[in-house]
Subunit: 230 residues, 2 copies
């Protein structure tokens, strides 16, 4: 039995939920508010960040990229061609490069500020960093997302999926971060058809269904959020 | 033949140099100034960050944690008990957790601001972000390092090495970041004896020698930097 400490719109948590979905795992999901810094949570992950995966008999696995490696070693190795981190050394480099690109760069540039400013801050006290959204952070994120969409579009013009011929962690990471922004209606899909078609393919996978039924209190998803033909 | 694009005081580059040293690899080192954003460099790593490892027949491997995984798969697997990312799944979680702790948290809190403000900014134009060091960033880093030293000291009070019974990536990552701060005379060693003794053990390893002979133009290392009995 797997348990995932997560936040509904946390892009890193969504990435792990997609991996688990692809590997046929149904974790118990527990919402955690890392900004409240609960002592029990900090014992599980001293870094105080999400997500954290709990599996009996193992130490808590903290952070999206460490969880991805853990799931590759404990689940992926038996998946054959459906393995999300491919066997070939050179492909592993490319998948990890893009996984880091989205989990770090895209998060810093786009999904982190959008979700932090528009969703998480609503639940924080002033001491925890709460308050109204910082409009200059939102403006920068809305500017940056166009470059990232263009990069995704450029990648899928020569490849079936972001890192090559098969679905990989790269696609799930990118789609997870975009899905959080899309919930907020912050993805300018008309900007890039190639990126939009790639996202439609990822979005239609069964692993995505649970994300599309997510809602957060006090904020409805954008109208097209759950629509497979958006 | 391995080539490493690096910066002398870049903590992430130093981490990779230590791994290569432990595995008996002598890379060709090429200094790169990522803030100059050379086109050839951005082709190798679109993220524009250091280090980047080049091995013939493989794609360029960008970033310390991806390089660490790459070297584990191509070099570590044949190292037996000297493997720096241990075989046991639970130990791999702990080593990766601490590796990320130092490469991300310690870097953001301490080594990034110290090296960025005191060394890299000297070589940047104003447009590239150069200028005098930001004294509030330095003050925060000097405050934060004490908590990190205490955490290291706490870890090695119950373990031989940071992640367990053997030297691992966790030790090399922590020591790499500390070594960059130590070059600048920024580590308050008298604060924590346990942390100091652990560092002395890592520092005395043959893999560390090349780092101890490093110098950067226009800034001498701290007096005790290369001293094994500091």
């Amino acid at each position: 039995m797997l348990t995932l400490l997560h936040q509904t719109l946390c892009p890193h948590s969504r990435f792990v939920r997609l991996i688990l979905g692809e590997y046929g795992q149904e974790p118990q999901l527990i919402e955690e508010r890392p900004w409240e810094r609960h002592e029990d949570f900090l014992k599980l992950n001293p870094a105080g960040s999400l997500p954290v995966l709990i599996e009996e008999g193992q130490p808590p696995v903290p952070g999206a990229s460490i969880i991805a490696e853990y799931l590759d070693e404990t689940r992926g190795a038996e998946q054959g061609e459906a393995r999300l981190l491919p066997i070939s050394i050179s492909q592993r480099v490319e998948v990890r490069r893009l996984m880091a690109w989205f989990n770090e760069r895209f998060f810093d540039d786009v999904s982190g500020p959008l979700v932090g400013e528009r969703e998480f801050k609503r639940h924080m006290t002033v001491e925890q960093g709460g308050g109204p959204p910082d409009s200059s952070a939102l403006r920068a994120a809305r500017h940056n997302i166009r470059y990232h969409l263009a990069y995704i579009g450029w990648l899928v013009q020569t490849r079936d999926w972001l890192a090559g011929e098969r679905l990989s962690y790269a696609d799930l990471a990118a789609a997870a971060h975009l899905s959080a922004a899309d919930y907020l209606g912050e993805v300018p899909w008309t900007d890039n058809d190639a990126a939009k078609h790639w996202y439609a393919r990822v979005k239609s996978r069964p692993s995505f269904r649970a994300l599309l039924t997510d809602t957060v209190a006090g904020m409805l998803p954008s109208k097209h959020y759950a629509n497979l033909d958006f």
